[in-house]
């Protein structure tokens, strides 16, 4: 009698446990789906930001390119590197460079 009763209660407990597990599983799945959706949104956001970052990096490279820097130097500072080099004779170029520093001669 006692054993049969125990068995009966165990069966009820097992049924409840299964129900709880099923509900838990459903909730876990729906949580996971929600998280996945959130991750997808974040992922898309990361991709957007990465793409924007790549565009910015390209723009920085363009602005820092030697041609752009030289053009800016010419426009704002009046420094004309290439043109001077192309136009001046060798002797004139040498004269424009600083004089060599005196070095000690070893006997």
């Amino acid at each position: 009698m006692g054993k049969a009763k125990l068995t009966g209660w165990l069966q009820i407990a097992a049924a409840i446990l299964i129900a709880v597990l099923a509900v838990g599983l459903y909730r876990a799945k729906s949580d996971a789906a929600r998280t996945e959706a959130h991750v997808r949104v974040l992922q898309a956001d990361v991709e957007q930001r990465e793409a924007a970052l790549r565009e910015l990096r390209a723009e920085i490279a363009q602005r820092e390119s030697p041609a752009n820097v030289e053009a800016l130097a010419e426009e704002r500072l009046g420094v004309v590197i290439g043109a001077e080099s192309a136009a001046l004779p060798e002797s004139a170029l040498s004269d424009r460079l600083p004089a060599p520093r005196p070095t000690e001669r070893r006997e």
Partner: protein, 546 residues
């Protein structure tokens, strides 16, 4: 409540018969219990597995952190961006949703004036297609401007676009792709597989170029080519010890961002794609071959005052060398007669063998879309052998010549030029050609060319430049050499006291009298003045005169 237990007054009796009836029920209960236990065991197992396998979401997000691109970035040796893949948009239309095609075409023309209105109308009314492309590679700004027009049936598709932020810099080396990012030329094509793999792994492709050196070389080449009235120019600078190409320039140039607008002449890579007879820049090799084979010595003197007759063909020097001349004089005064005589002592077979080891009979190994193979027919007569001795009868690219000159930076061994940055501890393959003694002797002669010979204009105080000028007459319309059309060049090595770098600069179609020493050598000197500090070399200027 007794859910499953026996009930009633005749329980024992019933229990006997009921026991027999209850047996299958008990079995069912047992089966059910076993089933539940199995399910619970499975769930427990899965829970344990999840507990020890980490968070699957984090794994996914980690892989998503590396964005897959169709093509990787290309950077220079210092990490400066040379080519990248950015977001772009394709302008599309759904013809079935377009009501007033001419009006839409007119609106689009206000943003893209270059769009052909008739073509746009034709595409917009092509209802046999679900989607038509009107324009590719739109920038985000252009997309916004079209979006503001609020045109029905007009949409956008996100795509990738190849961008070259340095503009014309290293255009021929980088090459370009088509609108679908298929490689068409340059390293884009030469390293296509590596660039695609790098895009998937989020890893850039690092070239050996240095944008600062590249810019200086390009600017000086352009200035020299314009000043000399040349139709084209090419220049290459190599770290001769490692074979790494620091700069590679062709003139005229183009913007790879708008490659379609450039002419074929502008897009032509003249360093690795154009063949020219090398002229006198090959003479150092002829002398080195003769020394290596012990067919002459540094003490031998030659009488070069009279023209040299080879089976009826007369070889003359542009400026005859008076008196007796040493090997050093042959090189310093670029004597064709001296080089021809040494070449004949060597013979065609040995000469060919040296040319092969110098890499002058095979295309350069630069990682470009195209490396033009040299025109190097075997010498069939003594005249051919003599001509090859002073640079006629062998047409190669300037990249090939620069590769051959690396023998002077490696104690007589040649290194293949490359466009990829090498790791500091990378193994470098060297092909022995000359002995270290012969190479050192040649370096003294090459330095003499710059201090006392035809290459004086290439001298840069403090940098100890060594090198050889070259002036090859070009073939005219009648297949005869035309004195008024020259290919003028200078091939140099510096610093000569510790040779490391190789520079070759050439100008195509320079006029009569525009020898390599007059037009190419000064351009090399100007370039070296600018780039020496970038290479960690010191230029000693002359003291100002009082």
């Amino acid at each position: 409540m007794k859910p499953f237990g026996p009930t009633g007054a005749f329980a024992p009796e019933r229990s006997f018969t009921g026991a027999a009836e209850a047996a299958p029920a008990r079995n069912r209960v047992r089966l059910l219990a076993i089933g539940i236990f199995a399910v619970l065991l499975l769930l427990a197992g899965r829970a344990v597995q999840l507990a020890f396998s980490g968070d699957p979401l984090s794994e996914r997000s980690r892989s998503a952190a590396v964005q897959v691109l169709p093509r990787a970035d290309i950077v220079d040796r210092n990490g400066v961006l040379l080519a990248t893949t950015v977001r772009a948009y394709a302008l599309t239309a759904t013809p079935s949703r377009v009501w007033d095609a001419p009006s839409i075409a007119a609106s689009l023309a206000s943003v893209f004036p270059e769009l052909d209105r008739e073509t746009v109308v034709r595409r917009l009314t092509d209802t046999s297609r679900q989607l038509v492309y009107l324009r590719r590679g739109l920038t985000p700004e252009e997309r916004d401007r079209v979006h503001e027009l609020g045109l029905a049936g007009i949409g956008f598709e996100t795509e990738h676009h190849r961008d070259y932020p340095q503009g014309t810099l290293a255009a021929h080396t980088l090459g370009f792709t088509d609108v679908d990012l298929n490689a068409l030329s340059g390293v884009e094509r030469g390293l296509d597989a590596q660039i695609r793999a790098g895009g998937e792994a989020g890893r850039p492709v690092r070239l050996s170029l240095d944008v600062r050196v590249q810019y200086a070389l390009e600017e000086e080449l352009a200035a020299a080519a314009r000043a000399a009235g040349a139709s084209g120019g090419s220049a290459i600078l190599i770290d001769g010890r490692t074979g790494e190409t620091l700069a590679l320039a062709s003139w005229p140039t183009f913007d790879p961002n708008e490659a379609g607008r450039a002419t074929e002449n502008m897009r032509r890579d003249r360093v690795a794609g154009d063949l020219h007879e090398l002229g006198s820049t090959i003479k150092p090799f002829t002398i080195a071959m003769a020394l290596e084979e012990e067919l002459t010595t540094s003490g031998e003197l030659f009488d070069l005052s009279v023209p040299f007759d080879i089976d009826g063909s007369v070889i003359e020097d542009h400026e005859p060398v008076r008196g007796l001349a040493s090997l050093r004089d042959i090189l310093a005064h670029s004597s064709n007669i001296g080089a021809a005589r040494l070449a004949l002592r060597l013979g065609g077979a040995r000469q060919r063998s040296y040319f092969e080891r110098l890499g002058l009979t095979a295309p350069a190994s630069l990682e470009l879309g195209r490396n033009q193979a040299p025109l190097a027919p075997a010498a069939r007569s003594r005249r051919d052998v003599a001509g090859l001795g002073f640079g006629y009868g062998l047409a190669a690219t300037q990249a090939t010549l620069a590769g051959a000159y690396t023998v002077f930076t490696n104690n007589g061994a040649r290194v293949e030029p490359t466009l990829l940055a090498r790791a500091p501890d990378a193994a470098i393959e060297r092909t022995p050609v000359f002995s270290p003694e012969v190479t050192r002797q040649l370096m003294v002669y090459l330095r003499g060319v710059v201090t006392n010979g035809t290459g004086r204009a290439a001298d840069v105080p403090g940098l100890a430049v060594a090198g050889k000028t070259g002036t090859a007459e070009k073939l005219g319309a009648t297949s005869a050499y035309d004195e008024s059309r020259n290919f003028s060049s200078f091939a140099g090595v510096f610093p000569s006291n510790d040779p490391r770098y190789v520079i070759v600069l050439a100008l195509d179609d320079t006029g009569e009298g525009a020898a390599g020493g007059m037009v190419a050598a000064p351009a090399v000197a100007r370039t070296l003045r600018r780039i020496a500090p970038m290479l960690g070399l010191r230029v000693e200027p002359r003291a100002p005169t009082r």
